[in-house]
Amino acid sequence: MRKLLLTLAAFSLMAVGVAPHEAFAKTIKNATITISLGSEVDTMDPHTTSSALATVFHRYTFDTLMHRPTGSNTMVPWAAKEMIQIDPKTIEFRMREGVKFTNGEEVDAQAVQFSLMRPLQPGFKTVQTRIFRVIDRVEVVSKWVVRVHMKSTDPGLLRRLADWGHLVPPKHYSTLSLDDAAVKPVGSGPYRLVRWQKGVEMVFEANPDYWKEDAPHVKTVRAVPIKEDGTKVAALLKREVDLINQVPAQYIPKLEAGANTRVEAVRGTRVFHLGFTHGMDSPLKDIRVRQAIAHAIDRDVIVKHVVEGRGIVANQPLHEWTEGYDAKRTWPYNYDPNKSKKLLADAGHPNGFEIDFVTADGRYTKDKEVAQSIAGMLQAVGVRVRFQPVVWKRFVDTFRGRVNPGAKPFIYYIGYGNGTGDSDAALSAVAACNGAWSAYCDPEIDKALDATASTVDLKKRAAIFEDITQRLAKDAAHVMLWQEDSVYGLQKDIVWKVRNDDRVYAWELDRR
């Protein structure tokens, strides 16, 4: 009897010892997956930048409080175990006990407090202030419980915390220099950054202590920046990379026909529009000129021919799953070049006029081609644009530099990707007086946007947003253009559920 018990005990011990290892081995069996998302992230400090690419890579090494799962539109707690809305201005997060950062510090209430307040520190150089500024204070209730007190109601905060509420170890980051923070991230995310050769590759390795049971699946993820479309497609076909994004339409047939490759496309969240430097002295000040420009553009042809159907015409700055999206909205300016010319003549420009036209080159799918097509359409009605495709940095500098003395007025082509799903953030960015990507200013709209922060009734909020977009269209503040599909190229054996917000989360990747 004793012998039997001992044998059983021995076997069970062995089973206990072996089984988890095997399970662990099974989930992390694959050596490496290589992805290319276009350009390289500029910094791995999660609290300084606002680029969409950064929101992707920062999630590899850092965790955020909330998360929006693929295919769903509701937020779920992520680094936090539970999220409780105490009252409209207070949110409580209960953290997972025992979870640690890779340097040993614990992901507790204090860490949350430090992380959320870091971008708001006076003198801290960041563009994320607007994301967090509604936070009044962060209260450490107990070791694993923290409460966020807001200055006013802001239903969008939870969404923003999914993209921007990255948690960092307080002791380490309070003494870390900014230059080091940019290249040596320390977090509690599913991966650690083990190697970064600028311009060549970033190598992430799985964090064995990650809290989520079945993630990550792949032990090593390599991210290589490949800007050129032809090159990244060739790399995919040659099995040098496993996943690429922003695939232009002309390569889709090739990838679909490839023996090892496939294409996944989904309606994306990036909406492109033409903007004007409203505040400056230029022909654009006259609404008839802006309307003329709107009438000069054939958006259907752009969608049909330039992007070859990989997108739809957009009639408003918001996309389907955001508040205030009006499915029945029409665009008031049809394609009518003759009407354009007449409007221009009425406004005092019978022979047209000259103006700069700036666009990013290589930032979005087919940005230069679409913008160049638009330039041609404008030139056809007499708006003689000086077409300037520039790299992203210079585009940003030009846009921000419009307020400097001596700056010239311009038209610009830009796409706002509202992956967060927050209508307030999206409309503020492109239409508020001090919006990050707004050259427009209407105090009434700013008032309305502020009002949405304190409007708790969802229907009322949606109505306000709809109203705002109507007002923008009526004033021809922007020319709404098109909404792109997110098109990815993948190896056939890569398992991944495609997201519609341009985020590729490495811990969701797997190889069959």
Binding site: K125, D179, E228, T231, A235
Partner: protein
């Protein structure tokens, strides 16, 4: 001889100073350097702080002196884009450009020497005409166009060679130095070497186009000059085989001007890879400079220009010294 070398060194130094001065002018002609360095969210205090920290508020002459002193230490400031020392970024990319130039040079020699000699020895025959016509056509076509045509045929059409880059994306280059091609060869690492070779072949042909054509014509004309000399007839009269006469005696005497011209070609190659790097996305200094130009990253532009000019001046200096040494008239002066 020593006097000659000293004189040339001094000359080289003067030239280098001139180039540095031009780099300085570029930085200050482009508008306010302080404004260029600031990120989007900067305010007036940041602007003032940078101005005083970088010394932009001091008189221009003082700034120039400081700049020259920094340049002597190879300190060109920090890249606006990458927040690392500009010269370090440029030096990172040097092996790629160096490999491309050297391999292009070797390929040019491999073509120029046999073809040039053949042309010279078979003067005015169809072989000669064919070779010289090809050289002329080679000098008449844009090398970046040739590169694209080569990609069209060998990469896209026949799928024999890659379209761009130095190594395949999927593998981590197993090189310790930055020189994939040479290290692969040296360490007999055939995986690395073959991958590097496949990637460098078309770019080297593209970069070396003009050099091949020029050197071929040069070899031919040098050989023609030498072959008509008396000592060649003497060698033939002595009964030496034609092969020995041509390839040993004649070539040796033709080599003095050849070596110097070849050296100059190498210098030109080192400084002229921008276009090839653009066509093949070759991660060298040329491509870096273009990208820095597009992003207004002036420290990197200056560092790149300085480094390449330095190399060019150095190569020219070496070539001149070599010429002086080879030419007995100067050597024994």
């Amino acid at each position: 001889m020593l006097r000659y070398i000293a004189g040339r060194c001094l000359q080289a130094l003067v030239v280098l100073c001139g180039i540095t001065a031009i780099c300085f002018a570029i930085l200050h002609l482009t508008g306010d350097p302080a404004a260029l360095m600031l990120p989007e969210s900067a305010v007036q205090e940041d602007y003032d702080e940078i101005r005083s920290r970088m010394g932009f508020d001091r008189p221009l002459v003082e700034q120039f002196a400081q700049y020259m002193a920094n340049a002597a230490r190879l300190d060109f400031g920090t890249s606006y884009l990458q927040h690392r020392p500009a010269m370090a970024i440029v030096l990172d990319r040097l092996p790629a450009t160096f490999e491309l130039a050297v391999v292009a040079f070797i390929m040019a020699l491999i073509i120029a020497l046999p073809v040039g000699i053949l042309s010279a020895t078979h003067r005015n025959t169809p072989v000669d005409y064919a070779a010289m016509s090809t050289a002329l056509v080679g000098q008449s076509m844009p090398n970046f166009w040739l590169g694209l045509v080569l990609i069209l045929i060998f990469s896209l059409g026949l799928d024999l060679l890659p379209t761009s880059g130095r190594v395949a994306f999927g593998i981590e280059p197993r090189a310790v130095t930055g020189f994939y091609f040479f290290e692969g060869l040296f360490r007999l690492d055939w995986v690395l070497f073959s991958d590097a070779l496949k990637h460098i072949l078309l770019p080297a042909m593209t970069a070396g186009l003009y050099s091949s054509a020029r050197l071929t014509r040069l070899v031919r004309s040098s050989m023609l000059d030498v072959l008509s000399e008396d000592y060649v007839r003497t060698a033939r009269a002595k009964g030496l085989s034609e092969w020995v006469v041509v390839n040993v005696h004649a070539l040796k005497n033709a080599s003095i001007p050849l070596v110097t011209m070849a050296g100059i070609e190498l210098g030109l190659l080192l400084g002229g890879t921008v276009v090839t790097e653009t066509v093949f996305a070759w991660p060298g200094i040329g491509l870096l400079t273009i990208q820095a130009l597009q992003s207004d990253d002036f420290p990197v532009i200056q560092a790149a220009v300085f480094l390449l000019a330095f190399i060019f001046v150095f190569v020219n200096l070496v070539v001149d010294v070599m010429y002086a040494w080879l030419d007995p008239r100067i050597r024994y002066a």
